[in-house]
Amino acid sequence: MKTTLTTTALGLVLVAGSASAQELRFMCYQDGTECAAWEAQMPAFEAENPGITVNVDEVPYATIIESLPVQLEVGEGPDLARVTDYGGLARFMLDVRPYVSDPEAIEARYGQSLAWARVGDNNPDGIYNIVDQLTATGGFANKTLFEQAGVEMPGAGATWAEWAEASREVRDAVGIDFAMAIDRTGHRFAGPAMSYGAQYFDENGDPILVDDGFRSFTEQFVAWHEDGTLARDVWAGAGGGTYQDAAAEFINANLVMYYSGSWQIGRFGRDIGDAFDWVATGGICGPEACTGMPGGAGIVGLKQTEHPEAVGKLMEFMARDDVQAAVLAQTRNIPANSALQEQGIDYQDVSDDVKAALTIFAGSIPTFADSAYALQGYANNRAIYTSTPARITQAIVGELSLDEALTRLDSDIAEAIAQ
């Protein structure tokens, strides 16, 4: 009898335990130390929310882009993920508004970036994403190389043509391999293209890609590859829509000017150290504008979770000013939280280069063109970002003429949108 009672009691305890224990899986990618920074915050969350445990699974970015959507499509996958493709993943995202205690506070702080996930059939006032890394595309220049070459560095508001000219002079004077490089993705291409007049959308908000401005920058872009101004290795060194950056060349002081984005700041601060001085260039201008592209990585809850309330609690915790400030101080990213933008982040142990770069990139975000924000919030933007390098590279290596490449690009995008 005694044994039976003990067994029953143990069974009840186990059943009750398993019913109340909620284990959340957070699939996280990082440009620098984002996953580690979030993992460090989890004990505090778990202490505030007994019964909820969070496992942070760090994965490569390619897993987020390629595997996560397939997992979600078949109803598998984590409870939360750190993503950048809000449009593509919108239909899998969980609206946590019903599960947070103060949705208005989140709305007030993250309103602009919340709109990025309110696409397709998602609720226009839903809370789907907490952006923990606002990004801006922009340039980095190796200041030491300019000084060694005795060439004056272009200042704020300089044009692409001026940067190209100055970078070539520096490259030739100091005898390194590359003058300029732009990451191999349509996202990085978009800012300069808009600066040359590309609109990306018509008056009705419908996407157009190849207009006069887009063609104008593409012509210049291909010409800079032909004359060696742009590093051929980055765009011609891969096929299809494969992403490729040139950060290693910049870190190795083999590149004068590198157009990438604010997410590189932490890495440069860490990997370059005091090997040479570098600066963020600020907005680079074309004939029509001086815009870059906004963007950002953020945490989203996912619909197939068995614990939506726990996901809501975790996202509300992640959105808090003190938690975001602690994470951002460690990751050295630009806040999407408007209260923290005003208040400023006390970045820990950062060099003057890093501090200056963060200020310049953060300052450039409000100056971006409306079309840049529209493209960032566009549900099919990923189709544009992957098709652009595939077709333009074909023009660079001579497989297609420029006209053929642009015609193919237009039809690729049209087909992708129709899909």
């Binding site: 060194g237 096929g239 829509g241 490729q244």
Partner: protein
């Protein structure tokens, strides 16, 4: 003593299985017992080979970017028609799916070059290693070693050698010669893709050919030598004809592997520059997984077309093997 123990062990094992086997045979009957033994393997094949093939057909005839079949509208042969829509199959630019036809062209050239040169080099290497040379065992191991490496490791090693500031260019520069961007010039990139693929796979085929060479009876050569037959004539009239069945096996295996080439090329060149080294498998991967939206149906249709071509090639080679066996 050892032999007696082995026999006892064998008899013990035989007795252990005899009763259940007899019971099974009694239950199913002698004519059906074979199916009982085949069943586990058939289940595994069905689940992991036949079912995916059927699913591939279903995906190829449905559209949209959803993965669940219930969410995919039926589109019939639309994907096949779109892939085959060409004014001239020899000019990819005239095709609706120009990248597919570039990949088809690249794959065709790759198979021709890679299989042709690999069989040639494998044969020469096997002939040399079959002779009584110094350090024969060492060289056999050396040629086989790359087969043991992961294709990704092979590609990374060669990338370090071939990149702009790689080992090869450093050597050329050191000896006063000009450098070349090996992986950025379309023709060079294609050459190196073929070369690296041969380098990392050749050892496997050398081993098969070596086994084939060693199975040729030595008395045939002794008779030829007594007749004063020159060595080159022995090679042409004895070695190659007797090695032909092994060569056919090598050819079937190497063609299939060449058509399926992906990982080492993807890491080495990413299919570039442009689409110069994009082969069919990468095209299927790109449209199915790497681009947005994901064209699962198109990828499935392309893979079925490729499977069809592979099937025809394999049948032709099997027919040639049968003819060979019949002639012999």
């Amino acid at each position: 003593m050892l032999k007696t123990t082995a026999v006892q062990l064998y008899e013990g094992a035989f007795n252990l299985f005899e009763r259940p086997m007899l019971a099974l045979q009694k239950l199913f009957g002698q004519s059906r017992i074979a199916w009982v033994f085949l069943l586990p393997n058939l289940l595994i094949f069905g689940l992991f080979t036949f079912l995916p093939i059927i699913l591939n057909f279903v995906f190829a005839t449905t559209g949209g970017d959803r993965i669940l079949l219930g969410d995919r509208p039926f589109v019939g042969t639309e994907h096949f028609a779109s892939l085959l829509d060409c004014e001239s199959y020899f000019d990819p630019n005239s095709c609706h799916r120009d990248l597919f036809w570039r990949a088809v062209g690249n794959t065709g050239w790759f198979v021709l070059m890679q299989v042709g040169f690999m069989i040639l080099f494998s044969l020469i290497t096997a002939l040399i290693l079959n002779r009584d040379i110094v350090l024969r065992g060492f060289f056999r191991a050396v040629f086989f070693y790359p087969v043991l490496l992961s294709p990704v490791v092979v590609a990374l090693i060669w990338k370090w050698i071939l990149q702009r500031n790689g080992v090869l260019n450093a050597g050329l520069e050191g000896s006063g010669m000009g450098t070349v961007n090996w992986l950025l010039e379309a023709d060079w990139a294609f050459f190196w893709v073929v070369f690296v693929s041969i380098w990392c796979n050749m050892g496997f085929y050398v081993l098969i050919l070596l086994a084939g060479l060693q199975s040729i009876p030595s008395d045939v050569y002794e008779a030829a030598e007594m007749d004063g037959t020159p060595r080159w004539r022995s090679l042409l009239r004895i070695t190659l004809p007797l090695l032909m069945p092994t060569m056919l096996v090598v050819m079937v295996l190497s063609v299939i592997r060449a058509v399926q080439a992906f990982d080492e090329i993807y890491v080495l060149t990413g299919g570039g520059p442009g689409s110069a080294t994009t082969l069919l498998i990468q095209y299927i991967y790109d449209v199915g997984f790497a681009t947005r939206p994901r064209f699962y149906g198109l990828a499935a249709a392309a893979s079925l077309l490729m499977a069809g071509v592979l099937f025809v090639l394999t049948m032709m080679q099997l027919a040639a093997t049968r003819k060979q066996s019949g002639d012999n």
